[in-house]
Symmetry: C2
Subunit: 514 residues, 2 copies
């Protein structure tokens, strides 16, 4: 058994059972080995940022790492931006990156590059295998590294000869550590902050916005009057009817500051102290009062549910009823499509148990209130700010959960960075409804141009922020990749098409002119 | 005048007059400044690899660096693969990469990453500006660095506050050094190798495959019987009727070894000793006889024309007539489309003075012989092997040379990595005919799977190398981005459509089923 097959068998034995692949020559033995090993699903992606973004979506929905297969330094480079997002979502992944045969590297062949250097910018763990007999053990170490809570990026670089030479057979995979429990001192400090008589707020992120943690936070809120809030962009929030209606800290600096105004204690659960996405002249970088005391109850690596359970117990809130949202649907709107009518349609029609992938950027800022009482669903967002992850995330979520409908809410500008994901949806018959918000502009940048105080923007600046001239035609783009699509320009047409797309299986794209 | 405007004025004064941009919030002051400064053409790209690949095409055709405008670490990461290709083409570029305001970086905002680390993997020169008054001088240093022969990658990282604070006004730009002349010893060593009575070969790359250098090499060939050959992938070769019919070293290892078999001296001009793109079991890494003596006449940074002139003089070949190709066109074929009939159509119909951008991969391996006698043209290839540069290169070449027709010969698999370039062609009304070789497979990988000796590939391996199921529909993809397109499935239809597309202005795409 060669090194490649030893590695694939190790991956499968270690419960890494999907490979989002974009292979090249140096990965051919790995590809050939896939046929000899049962249990590894291979998902071909036509650009590497689709593969890495899909791995993020897969981890968010399964809680365990998938793998990617990337071709040398440039292939890894093409996937780096979504590895950045994956890192900020606290997800885990095992990247397998092909490399020239060990003895070939000295010749500086055209595709030679500093793969370890590239990997190092976005990985928690990097190793280059030195021989075929090491590959399986290296792969096992990569799986263990990737599985460390709350999820890590492990990049294994695989020289071609370590794949084709005689390997060791599969290696055993050590179990990853469970998330650490927080200290008693952390619980006590949080309790003290809440009981200090000021205006405390609990800010939730990572697992803190999942159903169980949010319900515990709600108990504490009901018992003590502490406000609870999610971080600005969430990796995976469980929400809808029967769950806590958790709001998020707004993205615009002024709105965020208004939200945290007057708080005296900020208790962090699975998140860091909130900062502005960007600096703006004459605005602060941090999004809470400078005099507020910041207390970390649980870091993203720690067990948020256990921490909140113990805090609730300490506060006498363990048996307090949380406030869960009743089912509620606003009537379907008619007429013009705008962020408000779009949000109403979505809130009304989200399928039961759907996975919503939200890279709506400006269009989606007001989506949340319209879906508090919608059918129960998961809501996944872009956590790292590197736009172009929405469609890949939808691929990964759909691969992870074949029995659930995925609803991709996608701004047009960011969708263009990784539109190749549509082809993978068609190839794999993924059950995804993609809604493209076709405002034909980098709308967020028009706001940001004003926010940063850039003076007198003229035609050239305008042209750099516009996606018009020519208009993108997403119906044609989707058809070009084998995905059925249609275009709507009224709220009633959107509702009709969305409702019928939600009922059928397989990918479908709706271009929503707004 | 703020830092951003000081920088833009420095760029224009330093003859950096085009910016391939994909901006974000942190670059808004730079974008706003573009409106206040005449002389900077802004070309919006919807994904960053389009921007960096376009900068490569621009440099190849003008010999001077353009600039890119990229958004933080992930934006730079998205453009890295084509920076790799640009580096291997020995091109130059000034990358402007936005960064968080200096005081904002400590907060680890979601988009924070190690930009210098990312830049360092693909740059010859990296600097982060520390204040608005330094930005113009830093920009001037970047231009000088990028212009060093044979072209360098200079990456200037621009924290947002260094853009918006009061700057210094434009800074003077120091001239770059001229290419160094080779030593007399190098000329003498090359002459000795040629006169040693063996079988010498001159291998040409970089400027060595341009018209003047190739003609000098041909004089030497005629005088001494020395064989002359271009490197496997050329950045820019001037060819066609009236020029030297220069062949290239083949890509497949066995064919390359057959080509260099028996040579005793290998004289390098603007290139390195040839190595295989990849290692294969039981095949050598180097593509020439191990006993051959390798002599470097000129490195890529040195003046190839001067070196060949002096060598020709030394060998008494200065007045020997070079062999230039007579105009010759094979009759247009009819019937099936295959690499041979495609090459015949292209050779027959290449417009006078066209720029051919060739990322044909397998389909194009036999293209050269059919166009030796075609109308004079430039031929640009993928030099770094990171597929996905063809369409961006065509954008850059068309921006550089608005009066010349660009013909993009594009494999379908590699075209998918950066298809967003089509939109920029439409936006900028670039005069490009794109021919997509739609074989619906990563055909090269099917060959490579056999070459590396991977055994018994099955259905899973096959699926990872196939672009079918569903077939890509390039006509729809092009229309989705505002580019007119049509599909052909016979040689006569291809010739008809190509001839008429060559006569009109503006972008047009032909999907060639083959």
């Amino acid at each position: 058994m060669n090194g490649a097959e030893s590695l694939v068998r190790t991956l499968v034995a270690g419960d890494v059972t999907v490979s989002f692949t974009n292979p090249g020559t140096s990965e051919m033995h790995f590809v050939a080995a896939l046929d000899r090993v049962d249990g590894m699903r291979c998902v071909l992606c036509l650009q590497e940022n689709v593969a890495t973004g899909a791995a993020d979506g897969y981890y968010r929905m399964t809680g365990r790492p998938g793998s990617t297969l990337l071709h040398l330094g440039p292939g890894l480079a093409n996937g780096l931006a979504n590895l950045h997002n994956l890192k900020r979502a606290r997800s885990g992944v095992v990247n397998i990156v092909g490399e020239h045969a060990t003895y070939h590297r000295v010749y500086d062949a055209p595709l030679t590059s500093d793969i370890e250097g590239i990997a190092g910018t976005m990985s928690n763990w990097v190793k280059t295998s030195v021989s075929a007999t090491d590959v399986a053990a290296d792969g096992a170490a990569a799986i263990t590294a990737a599985s460390q809570p709350p999820g890590q990026i492990a990049t294994l670089i695989l020289p071609a000869d370590t794949a084709w030479n005689l390997g060791s057979g599969p290696a055993p995979v050590a179990a990853a550590a469970a998330p650490a429990k927080v200290t008693e001192a952390a619980v006590e400090a949080a309790a003290k902050a809440i009981l200090a008589g000021g205006k405390p707020m609990i800010l939730l992120g990572t697992d803190g916005v999942r159903e169980k943690a949010a319900a515990l936070a709600s108990r504490i809120q009901q018992k003590t009057g502490t406000r609870i809030l999610g971080q600005t962009s969430v990796a995976r929030m469980e929400r809808g009817a029967g769950r806590v209606a958790l709001d998020r800290l707004p993205y615009p600096v002024d709105a965020a500051l208004a939200t945290t105004k007057g708080i005296t204690h900020l208790i962090l659960v699975g998140t860091q102290a909130p900062v502005a996405f960007f600096a703006y002249p004459n605005k602060p970088s941090t999004l809470y009062p400078p005099e507020a005391e910041v207390v970390t109850l649980a870091t993203p690596a720690e067990d948020a549910v256990d921490a909140l359970e113990r805090l609730a117990e300490r506060l006498g809130a363990a048996k307090t009823e949380p406030v869960l949202t009743a089912p509620r649907r606003t009537d379907l709107p008619r007429g013009a499509l705008n962020p408000d009518s779009i949000a109403t349609v979505i809130g009304n029609l989200i399928p039961e148990n759907a996975i919503v992938v939200d890279e709506s950027v400006t269009t989606g800022r007001g989506f949340f209130p319209h879906s508090y009482g919608a059918a129960p669903h998961d809501w996944l967002q872009l956590t790292g700010g590197a736009i172009g992850e929405g469609l890949p995330l939808a691929v990964g979520a759909a691969v992870a959960c074949p029995d659930r409908k995925v609803v991709s809410l996608q701004a047009d500008g960011s969708g263009m960075y990784s539109l190749q994901a549509l082809w993978t949806m068609a190839r794999e018959r993924l059950d995804v409804v993609v809604c493209i918000w076709a405002n034909r502009t980098y709308a967020i940048l028009k706001l940001e141009l004003a926010n940063v105080g850039a003076e007198n923007p003229g035609r050239k600046a305008h042209d750099m922020l516009s996606l018009g001239d020519p208009d993108l035609d997403w119906v044609s783009l989707a058809r070009g990749m084998g995905v059925e699509a249609t275009r709507v320009d009224t709220a009633e047409a959107f509702a009709d098409v969305f409702a019928s797309a939600a009922k059928r299986k397989g990918p479908f794209l709706i271009e929503v002119l707004c």
